[in-house]
Structures are given as structure tokens and as C-alpha cells.
Symmetry: C2
Subunit: 710 residues, 2 copies
């Protein structure tokens, strides 16, 4: 990746030109230059500012003309001057920049033009840059602090990449007090050139970085983002906080899938698929930072809890259950060790309650035994400051041998007044320490979820498409609708299209009169379902356009009349073509499911799955998968729903033919990969039992813009 | 309440006898006596210990004989000596005690006997006590610290009542660093005599206490608990943490209601009904303590957010939406004030983003304007430590005028290094300050939930039972089953019983042969449903015992045979009486609901409501109400479910007759109040549409123990 060379120059420059360096009080130029000086950058610094001769003792240059051999330009001048400066950089063969200056697209239309302008210049000269409108970049191992922040990060192995400069500043300020160090801090700003994907790609291969924290508000280049994310999280724990969960943009949706799935749900699916662990609050990002500052990782979800207070142990166990962690019972070996260490009244189970009078020696022995235990993946050690506890003494014992273990050890020193000094000691030893059991448990859950997501990440999509798929027919159907500028396929087109990828579909006959409906019903066989046929009506039930379980010719006539008049009164402007008549499916072992497709403006097509029927909006059971699916991912998608429970043997019904369901999901995955023009699709219900499956109803919408492509 | 006088002597004694006072290093007797001395208790202290002449300069007495006029006994001697001491107290007219000594029921059978022993003695002498096995009691306003804790609480107006001494110690240690004070701290220990209910009753009327924090592991006397809770939360904010959410005891359940509802869900319903706000973690209890340390309360859920960082504002807004808080848009008056204060690029909406260069003056003006705004109930002021922010300066501005406001103001000073000094200042001014936006939002939500729960608390059950209820018939049916030691009513009994309280029931005819089934079907009218009839089969569908939509005599015969053979093969030992034949309900406007009754060992009968049908265990939609219900509470119960959505106009169906549903819920409430012997009941489905409702299936189980009572 070509951008990587640029990022190397950004993170490890030999020389820097600082445009706008100054001694003026409260100026950003002063702050940035001071930070560069104070961080003891070893390379050459060239302050550039026509207004000054010297800046803090350094010769200040009027322009780039007087300077040679610059790796990196740091720009803090007013927005209007940036295009000229970038051009000068290009002429002098400087190809990497950090543009801290604000005043671009964030300020409105004029700023947006200016932004496009600098992007064009950058392209012309093959310059790549971070920003504009950002806090800057820190790289402690390079003694580089090219930001205007009040703090200078300690060296460490966590990388922090944040879209918001303020969040960056807040996390750093918080981390300073806990001696948490960073390999890299990048404030992305407007990120119109180098984006998350590029930085993630760099960090994936960066030897200084062991884990990555992301604060994301939105992604500009989703493909590069996913590629960078996958590369990074294959090797390092990536924890992502995405802001704006509940502020989903206005999106016109026509399908139930659309109504049930927010943009943010899709972001979560994408992060999971990319191997990242998503957190939902800054609180949790702090927690993640602290647990990642220690280098031990979990290889499973089995957690052992040690405590000197029963109540605190119960609270920890409660939260572990909430987070789907497993609390293994002590095995025989551990049990006998613990029996030999502890007074007889100990809990004899996990959480291991050592009792209120636990001495430092008892703590040390128990924690050591638990770390050696082979049946757990991590340990939380809780200390409650009761009268007999000696918090600091216990902390010292634990710090002494934590390094020898391979498993993560998380401390939870409750209280504050008596545990302050221990906290400080733990921070010095990079042992994560929290003040409540729940947060300690949450910290472990990030390690365990990271391990779990590695499995999803390892899934390679099956490259081979299903041979039975007849895409030429599907292509023809879609092309016809596109040519006619119809975004909704007719019922018959939808059925043909699904049949073309070998999905089983209920047979239906169109009827324009009551007489035709009766003859259709007799041809198909009673009981039948009758549904309104109109290109303008998507939700037939909502307009009184569906009658089920019709068993006689008279009832067919009555249903026909009722449907036509109900539909006309509910949708007076809709074009009515008549009705469709279908045989009613009546296998008592059937389960009703829904499969949907939705196209996200950022991540493209997604597949959803869940319980089906007319109550989907009330039941709200759906999971989201990103195509291409494979067998593992399809099973994972199903397992994430409540519907999974009824697919097994359920209330007297035999288990459904699960391989058939997976096959259907894979065919739909093939379909949406082949036709990204499919904008929305609802298959609802899909009936499935122990022998077969059938699509009873479906609707499909395509994108009619740019009819010639895709 | 007689216990209250005892509690007054415990919290405000004029003189204390300390049994087991000592100077021995590391002894509890030393620690407790020192704490009493150090807290500068103004009354008389009598150390009692035959081993010593003096304890820390105070004359030590060999026994109670030498001492007179003692209000309170504090006992820290070994468990075995406690009975004798209690007896001596009784003889000397001491009626109040704190028993700190451990070694009772928590240690096993022998301890349990000893515990019963002291309870008997206490009853004999009308002594009431806190404990045993507890940390003790603090009452800063009385200069009373009768605990063996390492901290001495600061005076304040929060009461902390905790079942666990360790949690008590942890919260106190944490609070010390934040200058959070307490009116009362009670460690309940085994609480075999005075329990939560008594202490809550006292605190309800205690002028020193403005809010109450509870840490509960279990409740011994639920009626007293609920009575005390209601009294307390009618006047003061009560925040309760209940441990052991996921460790529900093993309970044999036969109904779907039973399977869907845990003991802990019922505890939540009870806490809500009692007006308390339940929290789920110690973290949240800390948060609650901090927000309650300020005396302002919210009178609604409308939250205004002010910030100097956009990202932090988004995170706050996200979490506010999660917690069902409302973020009102600034009204015209506020808008014009803000426009006159802020630079034009400000957000112009809530959250109010004042931009990164916000000065202390700008902060002050904006916060002041927001506090004066009449369209919001509280304010969160966020400061992110960016380069230009002056955290301490802003904090000073805010502290100056917070007292003038009536609305709660919550500070969120992000970071740590630069915000430490502000935090200290806020603590001194009792302004709650948190380090992340989510926690600040959560803090406000407790105030808002407290306000909301007051409405629930204010509901008085309608005393008048429904005149159409015919309890004499119901009584007879239940008595018959009890006499026959049957815990499950037959289908016909269940239907009769429900009909006796005027619930509409589907008509069904029993049939023992296929011929009888056909004639039943013809009498009732096709289509019919046929169901197995067996006293031993509760879940008919699970054994293949249900066939629906049967339209012809031949199909009836086939269904009869299939059902009998399926049931026999699934439940070979069950007694088969034949089948029941019912008319199939076929109103397309019907919604399927479930109403359940469950008897909790602690809180008695509860009523559940949610979506019905054969998928209830998968859909998992249910809310819990404690009888007696009234109209408001029944509506509240319905509104808490997802089912509520489909009861309105839904997918072409007119809204259901909601008053009919409420009436049915009230009748069932009457029924369970009248017959606490009803152990479990499932009405599923109850079909309801815009005109009528009908119970299609139901099962009812009664308690056959102690057949003569209830």
C-alpha cells in the first residue's frame, strides 16, 4: 500500500517543517512548536513563518525555499493559506503532511470548496496527509508530539485513533494519571485523504503497537476501512467506539427489513466481521484502554473470581453471566490446593470467597493457584477494604508474580481512600485495576470477545457460487424493471427471480375478476390465500388486501370483493391489477421465518434473518450478516436470533432441515453479491419444516439510478 | 410502629454499654471502642469486659451489674456469650442492641440454633437489635460510630443500608474521597430481628435523611419490607441494588409464565411498585450516591446537555436515548439567548455545542441560561480538556451560582490530570461530577426515574371488587381439587372458574371416541380445533396433542386418531380421557395475548402479561405487575410490553377494545387476591379484537398443601 510510506514519514520523520510556528501567546502555532520542542524530537525542526526571525531560539524561515530535505510538513496556518503551502511542499518534494488548520468543510460551503481544492493539489503532487481540522499526531517512540494538546503521551503499546480531537484529549488526560502509555495517537479530523483504513493498515504492521483503540463518528472509505480493520485485528486487539448510535440518518425504507435495521446495527455487524470489539461508551473505552495496557490476552471466556467479600463476588458473577462469560467450577487439583490454603468456611466454588479476614499471604497463595489453573482463561482478584484487609500489602504481593503468568489478571480494589496507593502501584506494574467488580468483569469480557471475533475474522467466504443459480434470468428481470424505471418488481417477477436461484416458491395464479379467482382456486386446491395485486402496494395486509384460509368458492368471491373494496378505500390512487390466488401452506411443523436484504450507503448489501410472520415489527428478532456468507457465517447468523430456539425440536415439532435453510441463505448471499442493484428484499414468510421449505411471500426493490451499471 | 422507638435508641443513644471492649491489638472490640471514642460520642460509654480494669482510660466494668441507665448495648463478644449478655440486658431494661459478633447461622447448623436462641431471648425481654454478624451502625449527627470500619463517615443526608458489611465498607471508603456524607449507615448482617422494613420505616420519618441507598441480598419479611419501602420512597429517593440477579433458586415451574419470569424479575417489579429505583451494579450505586449528595431533584425526564466537544455531546445524547430520556430542543427564548452568547457556528440544538474554544465566561452564561429554561428538568455540563479549556476556572464559575437553581446540575469533567482540581472543588460544593458523559446521563436518569416511580407509588388499588365475580363457585372448584389433592385443575374446571369471574371462554365439548368427536364438531360448527384431554398433560402441543383448522368429519376422525396415538407415544403413562373439540376462532382482527399468574415465595402472587400464542418462549415478551392492579397500573403493565404496539391500529386491523382487556386484567387481579392458593395460571391465547375477547386455552394450578387455609 503506497500510503504506508507516507504514514512512515508522518510517524517517524527525520525533519519537520512547521508552517505557522510562532511565539504568540495562546496561538496554536506556539503550542504545536513548543510540544515538538518539549517532546525532544531528535530530528531537524524548521519553523516557517514570514513574520518571525526566530521562534524559541530556532531560526525561523520566511518560506520553504530556504529549507531542504524535509520529510514532513506540519501546517497550522489559516485555512486560506493551506493550498499555497501544499503546492510549495509538492514543489520541494515533501509528500507527507499533518494539516492541523481548521476552517474547511466543517464551516460550510466555502470551506468545503477549499477542502476539495487542497485535496486536488495533494493528488497532483502525490502528497498524503492527516486532517485537516485535527489535533495532530503523537508518536512517543519517535519523540514526536505534533499536536496542540496540553499533555505529552507516555510511551506504551496502545494506538489511539480518534475522529474527534476533543475525545483524544480527554482519553489522553485520563490515561496520564494511570501511567497508560501509547505507541501512537492520531487525531483524524476531517480525514479527507488518509482515513481510518490507511492508519489501521499501518498499525497492523507497526511493531510498536500491540492494541488499537478507535473512536469513530463515520467512515469515508468503507472498503479501505474494512481492509485495514481486518489486517489490524488479525494481529492486534482492536476496540472501537462508534458515536451516534441513536442518530441514524433519515432513510426511506419500504421493507420490514428496512424498518427493523438501523444504520448503526450494520456498523456493528461490520465491526464484528472485521474482528473488532465494539464498545458503546467512553467509560468502556477507558476500561478497554486499561485492560489492553497489560500485554496478557485471554484465549477463551472462562473467568475465575477471587474475593474477600461475598457480596462483591456475587456482583461480579452476576455481570459475568450478563456478558455470557463462563465461571468454571474449581477442578479437583485447584480444589485440593484451595482447601489446604483456606479456612474451612471458604465458598468452595467460583467466585472463590476467601472470607473477610484474608491475609496478604492467603491472597498470594490463592491468586497463584488460580493463575496456574488450566481450566480458566483469566482471573479477577477483588479486595474489599474491610478492617482486616491490607490493600497495599496485598497489591505488592500480586505485583511480584503477575509477570510470570500467561493469563490476564485483573485487580478490583474497591473503595478509594484505602485503595489509592494500591492503584498507583498497579498502574506502575501495568496491571489493570478497577474500583468495582462489574467494570473488572467487563474488562475481561473485551479480551474474551476479541478472542471470539478472531474466529469470525478467520472465515474465508466460499469463492465458488452455487451452480444451480441462473443469473442470466435474474439479470433479464432486473434489466426489464430498470428500463421501465420501476424500482419495485412485480410479484411474478420477484417469484421468477427467486426461482432462478432455485428457491422454492408457492405457486400463485393471477385473477382479475371474482370468476377468475374461483377458477384459480379450484386449479390450485383449497384452502387458498387471496392477496391484492398492485404494483403500488407493498404492505398488502395493511390495506386489508390479504384473506387467508379460504375454503369454498363462495368465500373466494366474497374475499375478492372485500379485498378490492378495502384496497380501493385504503389506497385510492393505487393501480389495481386484481388478486393473486395461492394454495395455503398447512404443514403443522412449519416455522415462519424472514430473510431480508438491505443496502447500506456505507457498507453495501447486508443480509438479515429472524422470525417471520405478520408480527415481525413487534417481535423484533433479527441478526445481520455481511455477504459473502459461508456455512460458518450463515450458522452464526442464525444462532444470533431468538428464532434459533424454535428451529430445533420445539413444542412437539421435529427440528427443521437446517442445511436447507443455510443453503437458502447462501443462495441469497450469492444473489446480492452478483446484483448490488438489489436495494431491499423481504422474504416473509419463509416456511420451513423437517422436510422442505417454501417462500410464501416476497418483495424486492432495485436501484433504478444509473440503469446501465451493475 | 413499636420498633421505631428501639431504632431511635440505636441511632441516638444517650449511653452505650460496649460488651467486649478491649485494648487487645487487632481485636474487633478495640476497633469498635476506638471508633466510638474517635467519633466523639457525647453520651456515656461503658466498656464491659471482666478481663480489664480500664480500656483507653475509661473504667471498664466486669458486668452490667455495676452500670445503670444504658440506652444501647453494642455486643462484640464471641457468639456463645451473646445469649447470656442479652438476658442481662433484658434484666437491666436495655431494649436496644447492635450485635456485631459473628458465628451464627452463617457458620452452619449449630450457629443457627444459637441464632434462634438469641431471637427467643430478645422476644422474651422485648429487645430489638441489628445483626448479628454485621459491621455495625454509624450516625454522624449523633457522633456515633459503633462499627469496626476503618473510616468514619462524614455527616450528610444520605442513608446507606447494606446487607453486606464489606459493601458498606467499600462504599464508605469510596465516598470519603468525594466528601460525600451520610446521615446513617447500617450494616444489617443476618438481620434476624430488625430488618430492612424497620430501618426504612425509621428513615422515612428521619429528618436527617434525604435519600436512601440500599444493598440487598434477600428480604426476610417481605410485607414489612414493602411497607417500609413505600413509606420511605413516598418522601425520599430510594435507590436499591439487589445482588444475585442471575442466581435464581431452583423452582419447579409448570407454566410458560413460570418459565418466562425469574425470581429476580419479580423483585424488580416489587421495587418499582414500592417507588424505589433499582440499579444493577455497584458502579451505578456509586453514581446514585453522588447525584443524591446534591439536594436538587428532577421533576421530569427532559435533559439539556451543554458541551465544548461535539463527540462528547453525541455520546451523552446516545445514552440519554438508551435510557428513555427526552432531549428537548431549545425553545425560542433560550435560542435567542444562546444566539446572543455563542459564536454563530454553535450547534443550534440540544446537545448545545459551545465549540472547543469556549471560555469560562461563555460556559457561565450558557449554563445559567439553561438552568433558567422552563422546558427542561435538568442539565449536564460537559467539559473536555482541550487546549483552550480552563477546567478549574469554569468549575469555579459554575459553583458560584449552582445553589440559586432549583434544577439538578450535573458536571462531566472529562479526562483526569487536568480535571482533578475541579473535581475536588465540585465535591466541596456537593455538585455531582463524573468523568464520562454516559455516567453523568445515567445519574440524571436516576432522578428522573425516581420522579416517575412516585406516580406508580401514588396508585391506590381500587378497593371495590367487581360485582360480577362469583367467588363462591370458584371457591368450590378449588376446594374440590384440594380435597382430591390435585394441583392441576381439569380443563372444564379451569373454564368454569374463569367463567365465574365473567371471563369469556371458548365453548368446548369433551369426546372420548372419534364418533363423539365428529358429533361434537357438528354441534359446535366447523372449522374446529381438537386437543388431547388428560389431567397429566399440561403442554398439549408438545406431545402432538393439538390439531387446528379441521374442516370435515373425515378430518376429525383422522385428527382424533393421530392425537391419541401421538399422545400415547409421547406420554405413555399419562391418563387419557379423550379429546376436547372447540370451534376455531377466526376473526382476522384478533391479536394473541397471554396473561399469567405466578406465586413468588417472597412477594406472593404476581400477574404477567405479554404476547401470546405457541411461540411465547421464543418471543419472550412479558411485563410483571403486583396485584392489586387498578386501571392505571393495568395500563402501565400493558405499556411495558412489545405487545402494546399491536394493540393499537396495526397492519390494517382496528385498535383492540383496550378497556375490555383492562377489565379482564382487573378481574384476574381480584381473583388472585381472593385466592392466594392459585399457584400458577396461564391464559394463552387470549384473543382480543376491536369488539370482543375470548380465552381459548388456559391452565391453572393450585397449592394443595394446608388444604384448609386460604
Amino acid at each position: 500500500m503506497h500510503n504506508q510510506t507516507h504514514l512512515e514519514k508522518i510517524f517517524q520523520p527525520r525533519s519537520i517543517a512547521v508552517f505557522g510556528a510562532s511565539e504568540r501567546e495562546h496561538s496554536v502555532g506556539r503550542k504545536v512548536f513548543c510540544n515538538l520542542l518539549n517532546s525532544q524530537f531528535a530530528g531537524k525542526l524548521y519553523p516557517i513563518n514570514p513574520k518571525h526571525k526566530k521562534v524559541f531560539g530556532h531560526t525561523c524561515y520566511a518560506s520553504l525555499n530556504e529549507v531542504n530535505d524535509v520529510d514532513l510538513a506540519v501546517i497550522v496556518t489559516p485555512a486560506a493559506t493551506v493550498p499555497t503551502i501544499l503546492r510549495q511542499c509538492g514543489e520541494k518534494n515533501i509528500h507527507s503532511a499533518i494539516i492541523i488548520s481548521a476552517g474547511f468543510s466543517e464551516t460550510g460551503e466555502k470551506g468545503k470548496e477549499l477542502e476539495q481544492n487542497i485535496l486536488d493539489i495533494a493528488k497532483q503532487y502525490q502528497i498524503h496527509f492527516i486532517g485537516p481540522n485535527c489535533l495532530g499526531v503523537m508518536r512517543p517512540s519517535s519523540h514526536l508530539n505534533a499536536t496542540f494538546d496540553n499533555n505529552d503521551a507516555l510511551p506504551g503499546d496502545i494506538a489511539l485513533v480518534s475522529q474527534s480531537g476533543a475525545i483524544c484529549a480527554a482519553i489522553l488526560d485520563w490515561a496520564m494519571e494511570r501511567e497508560i502509555g501509547f505507541s501512537t495517537i492520531v487525531s483524524m479530523g476531517n480525514s479527507i485523504d488518509l482515513d481510518f483504513g490507511d492508519v489501521l493498515e499501518f498499525l497492523a504492521h507497526d511493531k510498536k503497537t500491540k492494541s488499537i483503540l478507535l473512536y469513530i463518528e463515520g467512515v469515508h472509505y468503507p472498503e479501505r476501512f474494512m481492509q485495514g480493520l481486518r489486517a489490524a485485528s488479525a494481529k492486534k486487539a482492536v476496540i472501537a467506539l462508534k458515536a451516534g448510535r441513536n442518530t441514524s440518518g433519515v432513510r426511506a425504507v419500504h421493507s420490514h427489513t428496512g424498518a427493523l435495521v438501523g444504520d448503526d446495527d450494520i456498523f456493528t455487524a461490520a465491526l464484528n466481521r472485521g474482528g473488532a470489539v465494539r464498545v458503546d461508551s467512553i467509560e468502556q473505552l477507558f476500561t478497554a484502554a486499561q485492560v489492553l495496557s497489560n500485554s496478557h490476552r485471554a484465549s477463551g471466556n472462562k473467568l475465575m473470581i477471587v474475593t474477600n467479600g461475598g457480596g462483591a463476588g456475587v456482583m461480579a458473577a452476576d455481570h459475568a453471566t450478563d456478558l455470557n462469560l463462563t465461571l468454571p467450577e474449581p477442578n479437583e487439583k485447584l480444589l485440593s490446593t484451595l482447601n489446604s490454603i483456606l479456612p474451612t468456611a471458604w465458598s468452595h466454588q467460583n467466585p472463590i470467597d476467601m472470607l473477610g479476614d484474608a491475609t496478604p499471604e492467603r491472597y498470594r497463595q490463592v491468586v497463584e493457584a488460580c493463575l496456574q489453573d488450566e481450566d480458566s482463561d483469566g482471573l479477577i482478584s477483588i479486595l474489599v477494604p474491610v478492617a482486616m484487609s491490607q490493600p497495599l500489602h496485598v497489591a505488592k504481593e500480586i505485583c511480584q508474580f503477575e509477570q510470570q503468568s500467561k493469563k490476564p489478571l485483573i485487580a478490583c480494589w474497591m473503595g478509594d481512600k484505602q485503595s489509592k496507593s494500591s492503584r498507583q502501584l498497579f498502574a506502575e506494574h501495568h496491571i489493570p485495576c478497577f474500583s468495582t467488580p462489574e467494570v473488572a468483569v467487563e474488562a475481561f469480557s473485551y479480551l474474551s470477545r476479541y478472542f471470539h471475533n478472531q474466529k469470525l475474522l478467520a472465515q474465508l467466504p466460499s469463492k465458488k457460487m452455487n451452480s444451480k443459480n441462473n443469473f442470466s434470468l435474474a439479470k433479464k428481470i432486473i434489466a426489464t424493471a430498470q428500463n421501465e424505471k420501476r424500482d419495485t418488481l412485480t410479484m411474478q417477477e420477484t417469484k421468477q427471480l427467486l426461482a432462478s436461484i432455485d428457491l422454492p416458491i408457492t405457486k400463485s395464479i393471477e385473477a382479475m375478476t371474482a370468476d377468475e379467482a374461483v377458477s384459480a382456486a379450484e386449479q390450485i386446491g383449497y384452502p387458498v390465500a387471496i392477496k391484492i395485486l398492485s404494483p403500488d402496494i407493498t404492505h398488502k395486509q395493511d390495506v386489508g388486501g390479504v384473506k387467508l384460509n379460504i375454503a369454498t368458492p363462495e368465500a373466494v368471491r366474497k374475499a375478492f370483493d372485500n379485498i378490492m373494496s378495502a384496497a380501493k378505500s385504503h389506497a385510492p390512487t393505487a393501480k389495481m391489477l386484481g388478486v393473486t390466488v395461492e394454495h395455503m401452506q398447512q404443514n403443522p411443523n412449519d416455522r415462519e421465518l424472514m430473510i431480508g436484504v438491505l443496502r447500506d450507503p456505507v457498507f453495501g448489501s447486508v443480509i438479515t434473518f429472524g422470525m417471520g410472520g405478520s408480527l415481525v415489527e413487534v417481535i423484533r428478532d433479527r441478526a445481520i450478516g455481511l455477504p459473502p456468507l459461508n456455512d460458518f457465517l450463515a450458522r452464526h447468523l442464525i444462532a444470533e436470533t431468538r428464532a434459533a430456539k424454535m428451529l430445533d425440536e420445539f413444542r412437539g415439532k421435529p427440528p427443521v432441515k437446517i442445511n436447507l435453510l443455510i443453503d437458502i441463505l447462501l443462495r441469497i448471499s450469492d444473489l446480492v453479491i452478483e446484483f448490488p442493484k438489489i436495494k431491499e428484499m423481504d422474504i416473509n414468510p419463509l416456511l420451513i419444516n423437517d422436510k422442505d421449505a417454501i417462500v410464501v411471500d416476497a418483495r424486492l426493490m432495485i436501484d433504478t439510478k444509473n440503469a446501465n451499471s451493475g
